[in-house]
């Protein structure tokens, strides 16, 4: 029995995809399997032996208030930071979507924060904002102002500002590139129809950019949910657990409390919580791809 052309194409497709699929399995599925296996194990550093624990870690996690408070803080932080970053990034992209003197220089300047590792950015923040030796408090005091950036009442705002400084460049860059893909003919047609700048922005630019902006927003949300290094360096998740992200919770559970099983269970639960977002992102991504065709 001879194979048909379409069957041959199918086999060739699998064969050609095989190296990538094997790599994917090695880098993604295997570690996830190991993570799940650890999550159903009693695995504590101070105890030499490990043994199967069924879903005990998951049960413990469900009644662990610190886990849920870290989830709540993470979601609020991610949402607030992402909304501000998207708004500022889009605004800057619209500003840069024209020709003006010094545009190239300013464009390059805008991208600097995103090139700095978040941990390094946090260390710089700690030094620059240090009340005793930092340049910003020093300058503020020269003009008779004082603002305690790390005061417990201001700490959430300070963390948001740090994230915004670092990642607005990301939303700006993607929004700007989406703007560059828009055809000038659409704007010409709108101008002929007598649309003013506001109408053009609200009825043409934003609706066309919507799929791209949705992707940018969701990517930022997902990335913010993984926030760890900057907050860990600045606050350690405190005072108490008031600024503890879920990433910090998982890290502390594994490497401070030495409970690898519980930490793995928390990581798995986090993946499960984030999974429902994925079809939405893929849908938006497809919409964006189709609209750009």
């Amino acid at each position: 029995m001879s194979t048909t052309y379409s069957q041959e194409r199918k086999i060739a497709g699998w064969l050609l995809s095989a190296p990538l699929l094997i790599l994917l399995a090695g880098l993604l599925i295997w570690p996830m399997y190991l993570g799940f296996k650890t999550s159903i194990t009693h695995d504590i550093l101070s105890e030499f032996e490990t043994y199967p624990a069924g879903f005990e870690n998951y049960k413990n996690l469900l009644v662990e208030p610190n886990f849920w408070s870290s989830i709540r803080f993470t979601l609020i932080f991610a949402l607030v930071a992402s909304v501000i970053e998207l708004t500022l990034g889009l605004g800057l992209a619209l500003l840069f979507d024209r020709i003006f003197p010094g545009k190239r220089f300013l464009f390059s300047l805008m991208l600097i924060p995103i090139m700095i590792a978040p941990s390094l950015m946090a260390v710089m923040f700690r030094l620059i904002l240090n009340e005793n030796i930092g340049i910003i408090p020093g300058l503020l005091s020269k003009v008779g102002l004082s603002y305690s950036i790390f005061d417990q009442n201001n700490i959430f705002t300070s963390l948001i500002i740090l994230d915004v400084i670092e990642f607005t460049a990301f939303t700006f860059l993607l929004s700007y590139s989406a703007l560059q893909n828009m055809s000038s003919e659409i704007y010409e047609a709108a101008a002929i129809d007598g649309a003013n700048k506001r109408q053009t922005l609200l009825r043409i630019t934003l609706p066309i950019l919507k799929p791209a902006l949705a992707i940018v927003f969701l990517l930022r949300i997902l990335d913010s949910i993984r926030t760890f290094d900057s907050i860990y360096i600045l606050t350690g998740g405190g005072p108490g657990t008031s600024t503890q992200t879920v990433g910090i919770y998982i890290y502390k559970t594994a490497f401070i409390y030495g409970d690898f099983g519980l930490a793995a269970a928390a990581a798995i639960v986090l993946v499960l919580l984030l999974t429902p977002f994925m079809p939405f992102i893929i849908k938006q991504f497809n919409l964006g791809t189709e609209s750009s065709r």
Partner: protein, 432 residues
Amino acid sequence: MRLKKTSIALATALSLVVGLAVLPNANAATTVKMVLWPGPEGDAMQKVVDSYNSSQGKKDGVTVKMILLSRDNTFAKEAALMKAKSSEYDIYFTASYLVGQHAPYLSDLKGVKDSLYLKASVNSLKVAGKQKALPLDTSLHFMYYRKDLIASLSANAAKYTSIAKTVLGKDLTPNTNPATWTWDDALATAAFFTQKYNPESPTKYGYALPAKNLLYNTMIWNDVLWGLGGNWLKNGKPNLNTPSGKAAIDVYNTIYTKGLTSPESSQWEYAETNSALTSGNAALALQWNAAYSELSTTGATKDQIGIAPPPGKGQRTHVHALAVGLNKFSKNQAASAKWMAYLATTPAMKTYAGAGGVPSMPSILKGMVATNASFANIIEYAGKFGYSESAGPREFDMYAALAEVLSPAWSGQKTSADVAAAADAAIKKLQK
């Protein structure tokens, strides 16, 4: 023909090179890999390693290679390696507060001469009576104060008493000898040097409070607890939800809520505490002995920094030792033991001290008092006031858990009544 001859010659040469490379070398030294963290300890240890490799190591047939992991995450990386029963490193970096957690993965050390070391340091590295690690640096706390400011207290006795009454509600007179301070004396002095209560104070705040949610800050807070007669455990049961436990929480809470420290100190740790003192913004702080070098030579505290034991009626200072332990899964046990034996000698620790380390050997510290005056205090305080909690294998976890539970009260978000029971619950959970 010529090509053939050239090929044969090349092949012969290659075979010789490969052959020599794979032949076992009877004189080859065993390489021992040791983990340490970067910073003064890593720098100092490199000198000891170099010295060993160029002398004793040749006789022992051992070459030591030191691997410096990151300062912040050395113990996290080691935790993963230990749990995987890895043999990648032969010697792990550990500490008194971690040795309980690390003990299952460390070989017992034999032949360690206790008499060479500060008693508190060497004993803190024993688990179930077995020596699990070799002490390197000893760390404890001093009450640092500005000598020039404390000297001025007597001339302002009336003002001092008035401020103490306003802030603490107590009748107190100046005590210019910090070595005999109670916590009331320390708080009243801090209030006196806070501009909010005394606009003529040269410092903005009287105290620099490291109140960040960080396990090392719990170690400092422990001095307050012990100074007020408290302890984590009593007869093996959690003991913080008690009058002494709550009083110790209240000391930090008072410092923060009364504005005797910066509002930002809720996120302070070692570096910020130092900068508050050297910048002239604060007058006193309980801080690690390691800070002395910086405080005695920098800024407002230069030549003005005084040292006293932590205040309290039952004065005690937390003491711990950084240390190295032998990986139970090392494939080079014998070679590693040779290096550890060298590391336990006085000449090795002399080299370590000469390069900036603070070894736990009193004989060496005594000889170096001229270069660092605080070494005399280390010997005295470790012997007289040195103390550490013995809370079992999860002691390290308890430090972290207490920082998490207590830091909201340290920084005024909660009260001692809100957190004391939770602190006991946190300890109990980790005792299981």
